[in-house]
Each structure stands twice: as C-alpha cells, then as structure tokens.
Amino acid sequence: MSADQIESRVIAVLVDNEPGVLARVIGLFTGRGYNIDSLTVTEVDAGQNLSRITIVTSGTPQVLEQIKAQLFRLVPIHAVGDLTTGGDLVERELALVKVVAKGEQRVEALRIADIFKARVVDAGHNHFVFELTGKPKKLNSFIELMQPLGLKDVSRTGVVAIARGPEALGL
C-alpha cells in the first residue's frame, strides 16, 4: 500500500462526559486539517460518566496515526480504538427518509422500502417517513432510489460501530 494513499477509518473514542469535550475533538480535526466524514456521540455509561464518539475519517496512513495520537493526547480521553484496522467491526447507521408521492410512485416507494426492510414510521395521504438501519452504503442506495419518487427530507445519525468478538474498547 502506498504511503500517500487515502484510506477511510472508523475510530472509536471513549471520553469523560464533561463540558467542551466534543468541541475539543472537533477543534482538533478542524485545527489540524483532518477530515470528518461522520461523527456521532452520546453517553454510554452514566455511572462512570463516559461518552463514546465514533468518527469516520480519512487520510494517509501517517495522518491517520497522527489523528489517533492527537486524540489520545486530549486530557479527558480514556481510549482511542481504530476499529478498521483492529479486526472485524459492525457498523450501523439509521436514516429517517421522507417521501412525498401519489399513485404509482407511492406504490413503488413502498415496494423499495420492503426490499430494503425499511419500516414506515409515519404515513399520510401523500407521504411516508421510512426508518432504515444498515451500513451507510445501504442507506445511500435507498435514498438514491427514493430520489425520483419524491424524496423530500432526510435525517441520518452517522455511523456507530463496535468491534466484533468479546473485547471492549479498553479503559
């Protein structure tokens, strides 16, 4: 693999859930010119006051190593895991997709939703809201197929990920 080839990585970060911690992480990425393709965060352990951030980023292998080292340097960060190189991972994203359609297009939208195992979470005479979970690619194709059928609005969570197997992101 060439040293200046751009690769994509899923990085998981365990942080103290304290004010400013997300700003620190995001500021690090903007300040040093790193890419954020997706970022999600929420508390995962209320007892220990820990949040987990999942970042999808891309860069050369050298930059990706820098990103991990720079993240780990932040005071409230407990652990930084590279889920892409660390072994197999499970990646999921959730999308809510609003389609406004009538007649034949409405039927077609439902048919596609069925194929993708998307659920209808809201419906009216001329609209649907679908809920769909899967890898980002699957969500992309679904949204693309809905485009000509009256796609109106999309909300996505960004990627969450976890390593396969019995190990946890270490403290």
Partner: protein, 590 residues
C-alpha cells in the same frame, strides 16, 4: 474540613499547597474577589505587569528558569484575550503554566455581559487543557488538576476560567492534590521507556559509524538531571551533539562534543552532520520545519531513533525507525545503564573518521565575521563580546526577542547549563524577551538577566519597563539596534529582490531618554571602541538598564538554509547567492 471559605480563598490555598510563591497578573472587575483574597495573605507574591501578554511571558520566563509551573492571573474579557499570545507561545514551546482568568458570573454567561468573552472557547486550541469552574466546590479539585496537567507529560499552559460568583460563594470542599491526580484516570502520561526499545537503541547506536545526538527542549523540560545524563552519555560514547534552539543548554556548548545549534541558522557542521549521519538519536525534539528544511532531503540515509514524551510528535513529519515514548531523563538513565552494562564501544576507526570529517566542517568557521577595529559595530561582535565578558560569571540568564539578534544570541552565546536561555522558539513572538527576563529575574534576584533585543521587538512590550522599575528588577535590555526589522529585511533582500516593504524601523524613540522616563538607566554606543565600556556599564549599573547598541544596519544572519532548501544548501556569506532560485514550494513557507 476546617469550616467554610470563599472560592477565592480556596483558590489561594490551593495555589499555596501547590508550592506557588509568585503570581504574575493584572486586576479587573471579574477577579476582584481573588485580588481581595491575595491582599489578605502573605505567602504569595503578586507581580503587577503592565499588559496581560507580558504576565504570561513573565510566567514563562519564571517557569523556564526554575522548572516550576508559572502562574498568571488576569481578568475576564480583554484580560483573557490579551493573554492569548502568551498562552500560544507556551503551548508551542511546552512551558508549564496555569493561567487563571476571571469570568462574568455563571448566570450571565452567554448574555454578552460586560467584559464577557468565551474564554474556554478562545483558549481551547492554545492550551493543553482548560476549565470553567462552575461551583466553588470544584475550585480546589480544578486547581490541583490544572497543575498536574500543566507540569506532567509534555508540559503546557492550562487555563482556569473562574466566574465571579464561584470566587465569592462559600465552600467547605477541599480536595487534596494527590487524590485529584489519582482520580484523573484518562490522563496518564507515559514517562518510563519500554526496556526492549532502549536495548534496541543501544544496539543500533553501537553499530553506528557516523552517529549524532539531536537534543531539544524536552531534555530541559525533563529537568537538570536529564541534561547531566545527556552530557555523561555523549562524553562516554563519544557521539557528537547538536541542540535545537529550545534545547540550548541541555548540553554544554563549550564541550568539544558540541557541534552547535542546527537548523535554519544552525552551524555548517551541525547541519552537515545531520545530513550525513548514519544513526540519529533524537531526544526531546520534534523535527520542526526550522530544523529539517526540505523534508525529502532530511538526513536521507540515517536510521532514526526518536525519544519523546508525546506520542503525537512521533512520525508527525519525519518517519522514524525506532520510536520510544518516554521522558528524556528516564530514557537517558536507562540508555546509559544498558550501554555501560554491555560495555558498548563504538567502532574506533569509524568514529575517528567521523570526527575528522566534523572537524573539517568546523574548519569552515561558519560563524566568522569581520569586525574593523574602528567605526561601526557588527551585531555578531556585540553579542560575542558580551558573551566573553560574562562567560566566567556564575549566573547569567539570557532572554531574547525575535529576529536576527535572537539567532545571533543563539549562535554566539555558549550555554553550558539548562534553564539559562529563554527564547520564543515555536511561535517566534516579538515582545517575549523583556517580560520573560522580568519573570526570570523575579525567580533569581541575584542573577544577571539580560534581554538580547531588537529595536523593533522591544517596542512590543516596552511598557514592562515600569514593572521592572516598580519591583527594582535589574534586568538589562541589550538592544542590537540595526534600525531595521532585520530578519524581515534579510528575507526581503534574499528572497524578494531587495524590495524592503515596510521593514524599516521608522521614528524610533530615543532609547536613552526612554529608559530615563521609566526611571532606568540608558546607555548608547555607536562605535566599536566604546563597546566594552558600554557593556560593562550595562552589567555593572544597578537597576534596570537599556543599552542601545547601534550596529551595522544591513548585516545578515548566516549560515542560513533558505526555506524549503536542504541541509547542504546553506548560505554562508553575503557572496553566496541563494543557490538555486528558491522553489515555488519554498517561497510559500514561512
């Protein structure tokens, strides 16, 4: 707990428990309760500066010259924003600081209240860490944690933003420093090296025929013992040593193993030794662009060992073969032990040849200059003469401003001990030198503290003369007055067709009268025949002195590696034209 205290009193108690004796600051509405608590105690001394930027630089000078954490106290809003340059400076040069900023009361935060600024937001990228104290109960914990973070690992500045109500509110909570440190489990800097890696380092070095040690500010931050260990190791192994600008003093400059500073204005021998070495041992330096020059031509044939306490410094710009994450002192201790235990000796013939080569490069005498016996003073001569006059004195601390004079000071003053050299390396902050000298003088009342200055830089924090006067701090300001922003002029001459755009120091003040206006002594010298007398007067006169040393106006600082050039592309004299026209990539570099 012994009853209730206000947040401000708790803060002061925590500072005292941290061993703080001096605070550099400037008052304002949002810190009045802290100033009130300061007024009612006798353990802490407050030094009133004349600008908050100077408070931070003074604390840096204090920290760098003592190895302790420097402490700053400023008000909210403009007090905090004025401190930002100093904080950035300390971050770049890894100086441990705790900066307390006042803040509007918690219930007004976010309301655009008078003198409100988003201090934690503004300082997040220019501190190692920062805090907003939202309850007086948190005060002691935050202060102790801030000191721990500032001084441990790779040191740096930490801001504590303290809203006025948390200063005034009462609390009975007082956390102990040790407990606070133990609780912060997310922050555990690695200080001890992996044993196997040090063994590998010994292995790699033992086979070297052209080794070099490239040591930086990390050795100084580790403490004087690290510098001693470095000295011992180099002498024992016979390996030549070069220091970065921040590392000067980490190895005795008068020792024959020292080949000078490296980098953009480093010596011919240091840069060529870096280019030609076969094994490089980097201890506590970060392959800064001022050091490496053109990256793809940086020491192309060497095996590189990098010891650094900060994992993010490793493989950031230069890929190394053996990374070792550790504190410099611990690593040097282990290195020396294993080296000795194995009776390691370098290849005699190889090392003789290497030193032969280095001595040949030394023969170039790259720092030579010509000083006529009458007339104009060459700036190099002024600084060299100063060094020769004070070389035998016990305690001389030198700070600098930024520009040519800074580089000449680095080249001609030989530092044999750490913590005696204070300069703004990473940020290159004009205006650093005078307040840094003040901070150092406060910590070392008996030392001779000299700010080697430029006439342009000194004006950036000249108001601090009043601080020096108030506390009778006998700092000496040695202005190398070339009437130009010399370093800017040099780049314009060499890289921009001698188009001197806005780099002349127009309308300079009369520095002698200026000194007198501040109640200090002013001296001016224009002819080389008066130089020694002027210097003697500067050194001997009690109290603060401004020595306006008028020098040749258009002297350039050599050697110079133009931006984007390789180590072998050094310009040594005015006659050396910039070898190949500097590349487009080179021209965009700073």
């Amino acid at each position: 707990m012994s009853g209730e205290m206000t947040g401000a009193e708790t803060l002061i108690k925590a500072l005292i428990d941290q061993g703080v004796d001096t605070v550099f600051g400037y008052p304002g509405g949002a810190v009045l309760p802290i100033y009130d608590a300061l007024f009612q105690q006798n353990s802490l001394r407050h030094i009133l500066v004349r600008h908050e930027q100077a408070a931070v630089h003074a604390a840096e000078g204090y920290a760098r010259s003592t190895g302790k954490v420097g402490v700053v106290l400023v008000t909210s809003g403009p007090g905090a924003t004025n401190a930002v340059t100093g904080l950035t400076d300390a971050l770049m040069d890894s100086i441990p600081l705790v900066c307390l900023t006042g803040q509007v009361p918690t219930h007004l935060i976010g309301n655009d209240a008078f003198q409100e600024a988003d201090t934690t937001g503004i300082t997040r990228p220019c501190t190692k860490h920062n805090y907003l104290v939202t309850s007086a109960d948190d005060m002691s914990r935050v202060v102790h944690e801030a000191f721990y973070v500032a001084r441990s690992g790779r040191p740096g500045p930490v801001v504590i933003d303290v809203p006025k109500d948390t200063q005034q509110n009462k609390t009975s909570v007082y956390a102990k420093a040790k407990e606070v440190e133990a609780r912060r489990i997310s922050y555990r800097p690695q200080v001890k090296p992996e044993h196997a890696k040090i063994e590998q380092a010994v292995e790699l070095l033992s086979k070297a025929k052209r080794p070099i040690i490239y040591a930086g500010g990390g050795v100084i931050n580790s403490g004087p013992v690290a510098a001693q260990l470095l000295t011992q190791f180099a002498r024992m192994s016979g390996i030549p040593v070069t220091n970065t600008l921040m590392g000067l003093g980490a190895f005795p400059a008068t020792d024959n193993h020292f080949v000078g500073m490296l980098g953009m204005h480093g010596t011919y021998e240091a840069n060529l030794a870096m280019y030609n070495c076969d094994v490089m041992l980097n201890i506590g330096a970060r392959f800064d662009d001022r050091i490496t020059g053109r990256l793809d031509e940086f020491s192309p044939n060497s095996t590189k060992i990098h010891i650094d306490i900060d994992a993010s410094s490793i493989n950031k710009t230069v890929m190394v073969d053996l990374p070792i994450i550790a504190d410099a002192g611990h690593a040097l201790e282990d290195l020396t032990r294993i080296w000795t235990a194995r009776h390691t000796e370098l290849d005699k013939a190889g090392m003789e040849k290497w030193w032969g080569q280095i001595n040949e490069w030394r023969g170039k005498d790259c720092l030579k200059f010509e000083q006529p016996s009458k007339g104009e003073i060459k700036p190099q001569h002024a600084i060299k003469t100063f060094y020769e006059m004070v070389a035998s004195r016990d305690k001389v601390i030198v700070s600098t401003e930024v520009g040519q004079h800074q580089m000449w000071a680095a080249q001609y003053i030989k530092f044999d001990k750490p913590n005696h050299w204070l300069t703004s390396g990473g940020l290159g902050t004009m205006g650093y030198g005078l307040p840094a000298a003040i901070g150092a003088q406060v910590a070392h009342p008996d030392a001779l503290v000299v700010d080697v200055a430029g006439e342009a830089s000194i004006l950036m924090n000249i108001q601090e003369m009043a601080t020096a006067a108030q506390y009778k701090l006998p700092v000496k300001i040695f202005i190398i007055n070339n009437q130009w922003m010399g370093m800017v002029r040099q780049w314009q001459e060499l890289l921009h067709g001698s188009r001197y755009s806005e780099s002349y120091s127009e309308s300079l003040p009369d520095f002698v009268k200026l000194a007198e206006a501040f109640g200090a002594t002013g001296i001016r010298v224009t002819d080389v025949s008066e130089l020694e007398e002027g210097l003697t007067k500067m050194i001997e006169t009690p109290g603060p002195v401004i020595f306006d040393c008028c020098v040749t106006k258009d002297e350039n600082c050599f050697p110079m590696i133009p931006s984007g050039a390789a180590h072998y592309d050094m310009i040594l004299t005015k006659e050396d034209k910039v070898a190949n026209p500097v590349s487009q990539e080179g021209m965009v570099l700073v």
